[in-house]
Symmetry: C2
Subunit: 270 residues, 2 copies
């Protein structure tokens, strides 16, 4: 089964488009856990795994743990049921023989189902990640941050760079395992991108803390079938409480978001 079909089937089974970003800063977790990111993640996953289609792990947060980072990442992945899509969010990409090393680390060793890749270096930097049809690659198109205006919005032949990324991604998508990243903070642009790529997965970060809007992310980000948008929130769920009830509060926040997404999916108008 290729990645796109796989994501679709997981979203159907879980009845969820929600992805929780496990981007954990040990300084922000409840003090009674004494800095154990492994224990924090275990509790968060235990409390939320029936609410999500995916967990996204931003690799920077694990690298920042130093020598404990690799082990924390590996253990966290073990807690996640294998039926849920795991995304290694490292925005990697390098010349071919180097991207192959990232493939080894992220797909073969850690076993992520999908990764995020920065498109700037072009096709041969992305190709090594695409070899297995069941593993997904989300290419950065229009990111959720301010700096997205610096290069991503530059116009080439009347079309912003991020739309050129979308169109090339579509052409390169022969194994049906490419998706795009479009920030929830850019709803109009998300709508345009979805029109360009009617059948590709779109990872949509920026809900919650970054101010993106759930309703428009779902309405504009989904396919006609109402799926393949992956709506991602991180800090608003992880740090819903910093007390002993952090896992219950995270569940409550996740459930609220899942239901909000569900309502937006059920609205007829597009």
């Amino acid at each position: 089964m290729n990645f796109t079909e796989r994501l679709r089937s997981v979203q159907r089974r879980t009845k969820s488009l929600l992805c929780i970003g496990l981007d954990v800063d040990p300084r922000l977790i409840p003090s009674h856990l004494r800095g154990s990111v492994i224990e924090f993640n275990r509790r968060i996953i235990e409390a939320t795994h029936d609410l999500v289609c995916s967990y996204k792990l931003n690799l920077a947060f694990y690298e920042a743990l130093g020598s404990k980072g690799g082990d924390t990442l590996a253990k966290t992945l073990e807690f996640i049921p294998s039926s849920i899509i795991t995304i290694g969010d490292g925005k990697r990409g390098d010349i071919g023989n180097t991207s192959e090393q990232y493939v080894k680390a992220l797909f073969d060793d850690f076993g992520f189902d999908a990764v995020t890749v920065n498109p700037y270096m072009g096709h041969d930097s992305i190709e090594p990640f695409l070899r297995k049809p069941e593993r997904g690659v989300f290419l950065l198109a229009l990111t959720s941050n301010q700096g997205s205006k610096d290069f991503q919005r530059m116009k080439i032949a009347n079309r912003p760079l991020y739309e050129h990324v979308a169109l090339k991604a579509k052409r390169w998508n022969v194994k049906q395992n490419i998706g795009l990243v479009v920030g929830a903070t850019h709803p109009r642009e998300l709508k345009r991108v979805r029109a360009l790529v009617p059948a590709m997965p779109i990872l949509i970060p920026g809900i919650g803390k970054q101010g993106g809007d759930v309703w428009r992310s779902v309405q504009y980000g989904c396919t006609r079938e109402g799926d393949l948008a992956v709506i991602t929130a991180s800090r608003s769920i992880l740090y819903a409480s910093r007390g002993k009830d952090f896992a219950q509060k995270a569940r409550r926040e996740g459930l609220k978001m899942k239901m909000e997404i569900q309502r937006a999916r059920e609205l007829p108008s597009k």
Copy 2:
């Protein structure tokens, strides 16, 4: 001392623009080392440290070592004399709070002197790396691979995207700690970029295995003062021999390259 001055002073002292890329694949090292990348790197550094201004470590190769990766990276950095510039080549970049995590991992924990950063996400993704003037950031402009044509060469207002990166980098360079990456495989474009940024460091990979030309890289990549080009070779030096003499052969290859660079620096014409 800011990064640019520091690089200049190291290049003056070492009389070298050569950077060796320690991008080590354990399957390619001499069999008598039984896969020990640490021992391989120790011997290579011991044999070449008086030939270089810098060592560049591509992080992908260390991540691909799995649980041994972090330790191998840390030990390798310990072998490098502190007077030589170390570059953590991971082509990172993410939204601000995430780039801060990479800063912690690469600058604070591993202690790299400089890193490579992918510019696609714009200023706020790069800014956290720029806070310490003595630490350098090489932004990808025109990379050495084929795929550089896919987006980097797209024309915006009659100027290719990579030149826009160069011009923005110049504007953002208030602490004199930004450099650019331009592949040795694009000599004419390197000449144009150097004209746009007459006083910024340029990291020039792609010599050796990838076919870039030393002579033109030096002539076109240096400043008027004949410095701030960082000429990088990896596989042609590391794997000059796969026998017990690998370190001597690596030294011989490195010395040849250093002298070739030196001759090109001394040629009057530009």
